[in-house]
């Protein structure tokens, strides 16, 4: 029964993926890609990775989808020219591409299925020594304990993506999702709903953050929820693009990384090594780092969606 569902799910994934690549309309492809992200989250939940499923739904499907849709709008010429599908490729080219991808599928499938799961692995050791990391969730233990450097570098990636986007930034009036709807034209329920959703979102993010130590959740999910709020506020015009990054925004952008680095470097003196935490302080320090990281994830994502250097509240 379970396997049949998995079979259906895998088939759906592949069908959607094929549609994403083959569909004639670009908009359709984008929407199907978002749907694919949601199915992917479902598959991961099936594979005992509910925390990843949450992140994929929020970031992989939600935020990426929002970015794609906004870019799709920007890349549309005035007179909608249909994108020539794969037919644009000469027949031999399509054939060569198919052969190459087929070879990849065969080699990859054969290699991946042929691999024996090793008896000892980094993962088993991580589970065995989780107690030493100071948190109860294995994922958080790996992300902020055993392999903290990856997490630190990954937040730097996000910052760098924002900095890179500033290099190629467009003028403010063309940036992001385009001109936001003026307040008067808004659907009636928008304002009250936002008044409800925003505080709720902040609370959820805080809960996710706090709970990350011992159950699914954590900085990424909290950051994703905050970023989603940011996107919502930007879409409804509550947040407006600004031409410059304010000092407060700069501080929020780098604060999490600086905090993480500082605690990490201090580990050389207070604990055994760089990126080690003193045993008694491990949990509070990790919580502090996670809080900083949640902001360091949410703000660049919001800014990247907004396509602007900074944000400001709409004047009333």
């Amino acid at each position: 029964m379970g396997l049949a569902f998995d079979l259906l799910l895998a088939g759906g994934l592949l069908g959607l993926a094929l549609q994403v690549v083959a569909s004639r309309g670009l908009f359709r492809s984008v929407v199907l890609f978002i749907a694919l992200g949601l199915l992917m989250a479902l598959a991961w939940a099936r594979l005992a990775a509910p925390d990843l499923a949450l992140a994929e739904a929020a970031i992989g499907a939600g935020l990426t989808g929002a970015l794609l849709l906004s870019a799709y709008r920007a890349l549309q010429p005035a007179e909608e020219a249909a994108d020539p599908g794969p037919a644009a490729l000469p027949r031999w080219g399509a054939l060569a591409a198919a052969v190459l991808s087929g070879a990849l599928v065969a080699a990859l499938g054969w290699a991946a299925l042929g691999l024996e799961a090793p008896a000892a692995s980094a993962g088993r050791e991580a589970l065995a020594r989780l107690g030493e990391s100071g948190v109860k969730s294995p994922l958080t233990g790996v992300l902020l304990g055993f392999r903290a450097i990856d997490t630190l570098a990954e937040v730097v990636v996000l910052l760098v993506a924002f900095l890179g986007a500033r290099v190629v930034a467009e003028p403010l009036q063309r940036a992001g999702p385009g001109p936001s709807a003026p307040g008067s034209g808004e659907p009636v329920l928008t304002a009250p709903l936002l008044r409800l959703v925003v505080p709720m979102g902040v609370i959820v993010a805080g809960y996710l953050l706090w709970s990350g130590g011992h159950q699914p959740g954590g900085a990424f999910q909290a950051g994703a929820v905050l970023a989603a709020l940011g996107v919502l506020l930007r879409l409804t015009g509550r947040l407006q693009p600004a031409a410059a990054t304010s000092p407060a925004e700069r501080l929020a952008l780098v604060g999490g990384i600086v905090l993480f680095s500082a605690i990490g470097l201090a580990g050389a003196g207070t604990a055994s090594a760089v990126l080690a935490y003193p045993e008694a302080w491990a949990y509070p320090l990790i919580l502090a780092i996670e809080t900083g990281l949640a902001v360091a994830i949410a703000l660049p994502l919001t800014l990247l969606f907004s396509g602007s250097a900074g944000l400001r509240w709409r004047e009333r």
């Binding site: 895998a10 690549v21 598959a43 991961w44 088993r124 986007a165």
Partner: protein, 100 residues
């Protein structure tokens, strides 16, 4: 066929579809979509690997995937910004060498 094996195969096929999309389509947005398909395939493979042995979930691939997702969304966001600017500057939605 085990559950993990099934998803391993699905991941392989997904990677192939992604590569085909990269080779066969030239619109920048479609290329970026294909890159994301390829990324999803890698993530799915890792998550499937983590679930190969009964009664045990390997947290290391999960951490890799979570890191990978954030890296992927960062790269995608920057790529889209670059594509928009490129389009604004040139009016092209594909790279010139892919012409005809």
């Amino acid at each position: 066929m085990t559950q993990a094996g099934l998803y391993t195969l699905a991941a392989s096929a997904l990677a192939g579809i992604g590569v085909y999309g990269l080779l066969a389509r030239r619109h920048l947005l479609r290329r970026i979509l294909a890159v994301n398909l390829l990324g999803n395939a890698v993530f799915l493979l890792l998550v499937a690997f983590a679930r190969r042995q009964p009664g045990y979930v390997d947290p290391v691939p999960h951490a890799m995937v979570l890191t990978g997702i954030v890296v992927a969304v960062s790269a995608t966001a920057f790529a889209l910004a670059l594509a928009r600017r490129y389009y604004a500057e040139t009016g092209l939605d594909h790279l010139p060498e892919d012409e005809g």
